[in-house]
C-alpha cells in the first residue's frame, strides 16, 4: 500500500469523512406550478431573494406567475404576505387560481403620505422580522423605473443577508433587475396574446391564451450559470 493510502486510511479511521468531498444540500424551493420554470430553476428558493422583472405597462405574465406561486404555497397551508406598492392586487383573479385568500396577508400601500416604495420596504422589513410566512412578495411592478433606481444597493444586500437565515422566499416584482447579484434567481418575462375569432365581430372575439417568454437571467441553484429562455402558456379564466 502506498504511503498516501496509508495516511488516508489512518486519518479516516480517526476522523470519518474528513477527506470526502462535502456536497452542499440543494436549497429548498417552492414550486411555482409552472412546469417550465420549475424544471429550469428548481422553483423559487427559500432563504433568498428572487426578482421577477418585466417593463412597466406590458403584459408579461409576472402577476400570473406570482399568483401561481402563492396558490401553490397557500395550498400547503402556509401563510404568505403580499406587499402591494401600487395597490393592484385583484382578489377575483387570485380566487380563480384557487389562491387561499384567508392565508394571504395583503398590505396595500400608496394611500398614505409616505411614498409607496418606502412604505413597501418598511412593511416588508416588519413582515420579515415577524417570521412565519412561506413567501413574502413585494410588488413594485407598477412603480416607475426612476424611483426603483433610487433604491440604494445596500437595501438589496441587507434583504438578501436577512433572508439567508429564514425558511422564507422573498419575491420582488420589478420593472428591471435592480437587485443585481443580491438576487438568487432573476426571471425576465415578456408575453404575446393569441386571440380567437380575430376576423369576426368584436363581441365574438376572446383572448384564447397568452404565451409568455421567461428568460432565466441569474440563478444560484442550477450550476453552471447559463441564460435560458423558455415559453409557457396561460389561459384566461373564461377560456
Amino acid at each position: 500500500m502506498s504511503s498516501i493510502a496509508v495516511i488516508r486510511s489512518q486519518v479516516e479511521r480517526r476522523i470519518p469523512g474528513a477527506l470526502t468531498i462535502y456536497e452542499r444540500p440543494a436549497p429548498e424551493a417552492f414550486p411555482t406550478g409552472i412546469p417550465v420554470i420549475d424544471r429550469q430553476t428548481g422553483g423559487i428558493p427559500k432563504g433568498a431573494l428572487t426578482q421577477i422583472c418585466a417593463p412597466v405597462g406590458i403584459t408579461s405574465g409576472r402577476t400570473s406567475l406570482l399568483f401561481s406561486l402563492l396558490a401553490q404555497v397557500t395550498a400547503k397551508e402556509q401563510f404568505c404576505a403580499l406587499v402591494d406598492a401600487s395597490d393592484c392586487f385583484d382578489p377575483e383573479s387570485a380566487d380563480a387560481v384557487e389562491l387561499c385568500l384567508s392565508r394571504l396577508l395583503w398590505v396595500r400601500c400608496s394611500h398614505h403620505a409616505m411614498k409607496s416604495v418606502e412604505q413597501a420596504f418598511k412593511s416588508a422589513d416588519i413582515l420579515i422580522q415577524n417570521g412565519g410566512f412561506g413567501v413574502i412578495a413585494i410588488d413594485l411592478g407598477n412603480v416607475d423605473e426612476k424611483l426603483i433606481r433610487k433604491i440604494p444597493l445596500t437595501t438589496w444586500f441587507r434583504f438578501a443577508r436577512v433572508m439567508e437565515a429564514l425558511p422564507t422566499a422573498l419575491v420582488i416584482l420589478l420593472p428591471y433587475p435592480a437587485a443585481q447579484s443580491c438576487a438568487a434567481l432573476t426571471l425576465n418575462l415578456a408575453g404575446s396574446a393569441r386571440w380567437s375569432g380575430t376576423d369576426a365581430a368584436s363581441h365574438t372575439r376572446l383572448i384564447s391564451n397568452v404565451e409568455f417568454n421567461v428568460e432565466i437571467g441569474r440563478t444560484r441553484t442550477k450550476k453552471p450559470v447559463q441564460s435560458a429562455s423558455n415559453n409557457f402558456t396561460v389561459r384566461p379564466q373564461w377560456a
Binding site: S64, S93, L101, W106
Partner: protein, 507 residues
C-alpha cells in the same frame, strides 16, 4: 376537604380596607333623615354600639360613624374571591365575607390542612382583611366553624359533633321565629340541638328541623355552588398628576395589564378583547368660543381585539401602545380603566410537520405596526392591512379586507390562469371609436396607442334600485403594442357619464 374564609364584621372591614382597623367604627345606612347603625366592629360594640341604633344615639358613644358604601364591600368581596382562587378553582361565595373553598386534592400540592389554613390566612391578611379560617370534611362544618371560632380551626373527620358543640344556635343564621322556638325549648347551642330526638323534632319543625339538627352535628354533605365567573375583569387607577406622554402612559398600562393578566391566569382564563377608558383632563376654558364641554369629551375609549385569546400582557400592551400612538388622546390623562373580556384559553397542539404559520398574537402586533406605516383604511373605508375576502356581488373590484381568522381555507387544487392587475383608482382614458363603437385608439397616462384587437362590449350593471350605488358599464378587452411589446388591458365605459376608464392590465 373544604376550607372556609369568614370575615367578621365584613361591612366594617370593607369600609376600612386601607385604613387602621383598631378604631371603633359603626356603619350607618338608610334614608338621610333616619340613619341607623347596620354594622360595627368589636371596639365599637365594647363602646356600647349595637345594630339598629339611630345616628344620634351612636354619636353619644363617641365612635367613628361612616356611611355604608356598597362599592367598598364589592371591592373587598372581589379581593376575597381573588384570594380564594389562589387555592382552588372551585369556590362558593356563601355570603358577603364568607367563601367556602373545595380543597380536595390540594394536600399533595399545598401540604396538610393546617398548612393550607395558614396559607389562606396569610393571603387574606396580605389583602388587608382580618379573617377566620377553618378546615373540615364537609362545607357546612367548615362554614360554621369559621363563623364561630376565631383564627384557624381544623376539624378532623368524625369530630364534627364534638367540635361544633359549643357554638351558639344563632351561628346557624336561623329565622327569628325558629330561633324563638328553640330558645323556648332551652336550646342554646349546637350540642343541645344535636342531642334532641330526631323523630320528635321532625314532628314539630318538619324536615327543616331535622336538617338543622344534622347541620349542628356536622353530618351534612353537599356539593358547592360554584361562584359564577365575572363577565369582565377591570382594573383602574386614578393619577395624582395627569399624564401627557404616551411613554409614561405605557408604564401605567403595563402595571394594570399585569394585574389583569394575573387575575385571568388565576382562573385559567385568557382574553382577546380589552377596552381602555381614559378619563381626560379637558380644560374647557382654553377656547372661550367653543361650546360647553360635555361629559362625553372627558372620556376616551379604545378597544384592542385579538383573533385568539392570550394570557400575554406584553402582547396586549404593545397593541394598546400602537393603537394609542395611531389615535392619541386629545388631552392629558387623569384616570385609566382597563376592562378585559374573559375567554377560554386556546389549546393548540404543536407538531414537527406543522406548516409554517405566523403566531396569531405576534401577527396582530405586526399588522398594527404595518398599519402605522401604511395607514388604516382607504377612501372606501376598506382596511389597508389584512386578509382579502370576496363579497357576494357582481360589482367589479368588490371586496373587503378582514382581520385574520382561524377558519380553514379552501383545499382545491391550485391552477395557473391569466391574472389582472387593477388600477386603483381607475385611470381616465381618451378613446376613439369606429362606426361599430369599438375602440380603435386609446390614450391614458403616458401612453397613446392603436388598438390592434378588441373584444366586447361586455355590458354589466347592478344595484339599479339605489341611485347612489347604481352602476352600468361596457367592458372591453383590448390589445395594444407598447414599445414593441404586447399589452392586454381591460377598459370600460361608464354608461352614466359616457366616460372611458382603464380598469386594469392582464398580466
Amino acid at each position: 376537604m373544604f376550607g372556609c374564609i369568614h370575615i367578621p364584621d365584613f361591612p366594617v372591614q370593607a369600609a376600612l380596607l386601607r385604613e387602621p382597623k383598631a378604631i371603633p367604627v359603626a356603619l350607618l345606612d338608610g334614608p338621610e333623615s333616619l340613619l341607623k347603625v347596620v354594622a360595627c366592629n368589636s371596639s365599637a360594640r365594647s363602646a356600647g354600639i349595637f345594630t339598629g341604633m339611630t345616628k344620634s344615639q351612636a354619636e353619644i358613644c363617641g365612635v367613628t360613624l361612616i356611611k355604608r358604601i356598597q362599592e367598598h364591600e364589592d371591592m373587598a368581596q372581589a379581593e376575597l374571591i381573588d384570594a380564594a382562587y389562589n387555592f382552588s378553582p372551585c369556590i362558593e361565595v356563601t355570603s358577603p365575607g364568607t367563601i367556602i373553598i373545595d380543597l380536595n386534592g390540594s394536600e399533595r400540592l399545598l401540604g396538610t390542612g393546617k398548612t393550607i389554613a395558614q396559607l389562606i390566612l396569610g393571603e387574606v391578611t396580605k389583602r388587608g382583611l382580618e379573617s377566620n379560617v377553618s378546615i373540615a370534611a364537609n362545607p357546612d362544618t367548615a362554614h360554621y366553624a369559621a363563623r364561630g371560632f376565631k383564627g384557624i380551626t381544623i376539624i378532623d373527620p368524625q369530630e364534627e359533633t364534638k367540635r361544633l358543640s359549643t357554638l351558639p344556635v344563632e351561628t346557624l343564621g336561623l329565622e327569628s321565629d325558629v330561633l324563638h322556638v328553640l330558645h323556648a325549648w332551652g336550646i342554646r347551642d349546637f350540642k343541645s340541638l344535636a342531642a334532641l330526638p330526631s323523630i320528635e323534632l321532625t314532628e314539630r319543625l318538619g324536615q327543616y328541623g331535622l336538617h338543622l339538627q344534622r347541620l349542628a352535628s356536622g353530618a351534612v354533605m353537599r356539593e358547592l355552588v360554584p361562584a359564577a365567573l365575572p363577565a369582565s375583569f377591570q382594573e383602574s387607577t386614578e393619577l395624582e398628576e395627569p399624564i401627557e406622554l404616551l411613554e409614561s402612559l405605557a408604564f401605567v398600562l403595563n402595571r394594570l395589564l399585569e394585574q389583569l393578566m394575573e387575575c385571568l391566569i388565576d382562573r385559567s382564563l385568557a382574553t382577546n378583547h380589552i377596552e381602555i377608558e381614559l378619563t381626560l383632563e379637558v380644560h374647557s376654558d382654553r377656547d372661550v368660543n367653543a361650546p360647553v364641554c360635555c361629559s362625553a369629551l372627558t372620556t376616551y375609549q379604545r378597544t384592542v381585539k385579538l383573533p385568539v385569546p392570550t394570557q400575554d400582557g406584553k402582547v396586549l400592551l404593545k397593541l394598546a401602545q400602537l393603537d394609542l400612538a395611531a389615535h392619541p388622546p386629545h388631552a392629558p390623562v387623569n384616570k385609566i380603566k382597563i376592562e378585559a373580556i374573559p375567554a377560554r384559553i386556546r389549546f393548540t397542539q404543536a407538531g414537527l410537520f406543522q406548516p409554517l404559520a405566523p403566531e396569531p398574537a405576534k401577527l396582530e402586533i405586526t399588522m398594527a405596526r404595518i398599519r402605522a406605516v401604511v395607514g388604516e383604511a382607504d377612501s372606501q373605508n376598506r382596511n389597508l392591512v389584512g386578509f382579502p375576502a370576496l363579497l357576494d356581488s357582481y360589482r367589479p373590484d368588490h371586496f373587503q379586507v378582514v382581520p385574520p381568522s382561524v377558519k380553514q381555507g379552501n383545499s382545491a387544487e391550485p391552477s395557473t390562469r391569466l391574472a389582472l392587475r387593477r388600477f386603483r383608482p381607475v385611470i381616465p382614458a381618451r378613446v376613439e371609436v369606429n362606426a361599430e363603437q369599438a375602440p380603435v385608439w386609446i390614450g391614458f397616462s403616458r401612453w397613446k396607442a392603436r388598438v390592434t384587437c378588441a373584444s366586447g362590449p361586455w355590458r354589466g350593471g347592478g344595484q339599479w334600485w339605489d341611485a347612489a350605488g347604481e352602476w352600468l358599464r361596457e367592458e372591453w378587452d383590448i390589445n395594444l403594442t407598447l414599445d414593441g411589446h404586447t399589452a392586454l388591458y381591460r377598459i370600460f365605459r361608464d354608461l352614466a357619464t359616457r366616460n372611458w376608464f382603464v380598469e386594469g392590465m392582464y398580466d
